[in-house]
């Protein structure tokens, strides 16, 4: 799993059906010290996260598909938690 900070959002009407009615958030990936790592990804939101929040990202296709209960969805990254504190 990875940690990241939500910096934006993308919307689309023409997309793969697996993405219908799901929020696609742009997440800036962070290092363990909370700094931006310079990389980013777009993840599906499953927990109701919003701008500026630090989140836990599951970046593995099979696990994401199991959580969504969609066997053949082309989805790899999902936001699985909102982080309150990192020690």
């Amino acid at each position: 799993m990875k940690i990241g900070r939500i910096i934006g959002e993308v919307t689309s009407t023409i997309n793969h059906p697996a993405y219908d009615n799901r929020k696609q958030l742009i997440v800036d990936l962070l290092t363990s010290s909370g700094e931006s790592s310079g990389d980013y990804l777009i993840a599906l939101d499953l927990v109701g996260a919003g701008s500026g929040e630090t989140v836990l990202i599951l970046d593995e296709g099979n696990s994401a598909r199991q959580i969504l209960n969609m066997e053949n969805a082309p989805i790899r990254s999902v936001i699985a938690g909102i982080i309150d504190q990192i020690n």
Partner: protein, 98 residues
Amino acid sequence: MKLGKVIGTLVPAVVYEGLEGVPFLWVQPLSPQLDPKGKPVVCADGTRMAGPGELVTFEASREAALTLDPWFVPVDHAVVGIVDTHRIEDIDKKGKKK
């Protein structure tokens, strides 16, 4: 999933079985701020509707092949959506808006 801009199309003469009729696009990967980032890649078009100049989202690796039907095809990047709106907020290190 990442952001990209379609910069061209590509027509293969011979394709592996399962890829007949699938459009292929040149996609320039972008940063969240829409600046070019990295080298362009060839993507199969899972939406079958994307064209040059459009802002799209694309998926890499095994998930790319899953956008197509049949899905067990040799594809490693695929366009999964055409972006309608894109919003980036200026957020500082503490997660607050600037």
